[in-house]
Amino acid sequence: MISLSMLKTTTAAAVLSLAATQIASAETLRLLTWGGYAPEEVIELFEKETGHTVEVTKSNNEEMIAKLRATGGGGFDLAQPSQDRISGPQAEFGIYKPIDLSKIDDSLFIASMLEATKGNTTVDGEVYGVPHVWGTSGLVLDTEAAASVKDYTDLCNDDVKGKVSYRLKRPTLIGFAYSMGLDPFAAYGDEAAYKEIMDKVEAKLVECKGNVKAYWGGGDELMNLIRSGEVVASMAWDTGGWKLNGEMPNVTFVAPSSGSLGWIDTFVLPAKGKADDAAYAWINFVMRPDIAAKITNVAGNFTASKGGDAGVSEELKAKYQKSYPAADVDNIKWYPPVPAGLEVIEGGVLDRVKAAN
């Protein structure tokens, strides 16, 4: 009897230690991302397939960089800033580590998008980012109540007075500059020229302030303003417009005549990330066409996954095609990398607009 119970104990111990070694090889992936980029369903599939576990923290560009800067690139194993916000902060704060491209399955990516992102996120010959989700920002309008609005500057028209909302952030400055016939991206390398453009934009935004109901901060805030009818014209992301279109047929995303602004959110490895294997596994997992389609259906935006649009719902595809006739797609202005230091110029402009009466 005694020997039998001893046998049981040893077996149990052996099983336990076996389980322990398996757990040790599985890692916890701390993912710093945007809302919708890591749906519950995808996380479950990933955990089942690889044994890694995923902890998601939702954030935005500025907060991601601020968080990583505060810890010197620690606390997270994988982050998803936009491609234009990688080389500047990397040169300034050193918060990322280079991506080992041999661990990425590049056959999963749309080649042109992968190459463009690699080029924009290269610092000192090392690549720091690969693309994931892309989309545009432009106008989200009630097409009946705000029929006169065709471009960003039309938000200052009298017939939408008090019913306009946009963010006090850099996309607004860039969008208004283009709409005013200026070219801010061409002036990125020249601080003096950029400041001149921003001064003109500042004057326009101050003049336009009376039209604004409220400057929105988060996507949900804007949704509420539009749903209630308090706002009929706004600057926002394409997905926000498509989402509202499902509830309010009049409201949709419109590409402004001066061109939408295109962004690509990427994958980067924080400098002090501890679960690189899990991070690479996640990248290769979510770029698979079937998984990418699931993410598109939740987030609303298309991904850089080759063939990832095949599994996307017909409804979303139709909305995309309606907002983007072919000419408008060619007119998308993709954000080039932001040189360090421009944020200070923009910051001053935004502060003064906020303070103006």
């Binding site: 907060e63 300034e92 910051g347 906020k354």
Partner: protein, 285 residues
């Protein structure tokens, strides 16, 4: 004997010292060092007072600070005016079970987070909100009225948020006031006004001062309420600090702003104490 007692003394002191050192003093030294450097190139910094000069030379920042301070002082004053009768009723008029019930009722709104409370005000005040709809239904106004996104909305939010921190110290001090003193005041021919002025207010002074300091500091350092209720003209000093740190990646200027907030708010409290002839020692005693 002496060594044993001093060991116990230091053991008791240790948590306080550790708290102050690790969570207050060291971070402030670090913040001070950050505020005293200037970015001269990519990833390069040099010692300079440029950030403090920026604060002093840019009227926008000074105006924002002045606005924040004035609004906070006003909010403190309104909170005192509204809170005093409430506290007096709870401490002196309410009897038996009513007293704890009223006290708990004051507490209840604080069981949910500040964010939820502020959202509550947004639902009430917005153009398509409850008050606007009610006014239209009653026929008092013709179209929807926007009550949100102005300074009055910020003020309502601030007073509502800090109410408890005024009522609690006031109830505590007022409940120690012996009723017979008030009766004696009336017996000696005092009017309601003179009893209030000569007996109740002097006795409640420590509560008034500590309540006012807490409410003032809470309002000055509030971030959520002004941002959410204030809309496009909100302009609050903490918002400037947040945007320097998070949106502009300019920790240096943000740290300098943080220190200016610390200095100026301390100065305001000090001046207020001097003007009213109060001192922190008396308040604590």
């Amino acid at each position: 004997m002496t060594s044993g007692r001093s060991l116990g003394f230091y053991l008791l002191l240790a948590p306080v010292l550790l708290w102050l050192l690790l969570l207050v003093i060291i971070p402030h030294i670090d913040l001070a060092l950050v505020s005293l450097r200037e970015r001269v190139g990519v990833g390069q910094y040099a010692f300079s007072f440029a950030n403090f000069l920026t604060f002093l030379n840019e009227p926008l920042y000074l105006v924002t600070f002045a606005r924040t301070a004035v609004m906070s002082i006003l909010a403190t004053f309104i909170t005192l005016i509204v809170g005093f009768p409430v506290a007096y009723f709870i401490a002196k008029m309410a009897r038996g079970k009513l007293q704890p019930i009223l006290f708990v009722l004051c507490l209840v709104p604080f069981w949910v987070s500040e964010l939820v409370r502020t959202f509550g005000w947004m639902i009430l005040l917005r153009e398509t909100g409850i008050i606007s709809s009610l006014l239209q239904w009653l026929g008092l106004v013709n179209g929807p009225v926007e009550l949100l996104y102005n300074d009055a909305a910020i003020m309502i939010g601030l007073v509502y948020t800090s109410m408890l921190f005024m009522v609690v110290p006031l109830v505590t001090t007022l409940s120690t006031l012996d009723d017979s003193l008030i009766e004696a005041g009336y017996d000696l021919g005092g009017s309601s006004a003179s009893v209030f002025r000569e007996i109740i207010v002097p006795h409640a002074m420590p509560g008034i001062v500590s309540g006012c300091i807490v409410v003032f500091m809470l309002s000055l350092g509030n971030y959520l309420t002004p941002i959410m209720l204030g809309g496009k003209d909100s302009l609050w000093f903490t918002e400037l600090i947040y945007s320097q740190f998070i949106v502009r990646f300019n920790w240096e200027l943000g740290a300098a702003f943080g220190f200016m907030l610390l200095f100026l708010s301390t100065a305001i409290v000090w001046v207020a104490l001097k003007l009213t002839g109060q001192s922190l020692e008396k308040t604590m005693g």
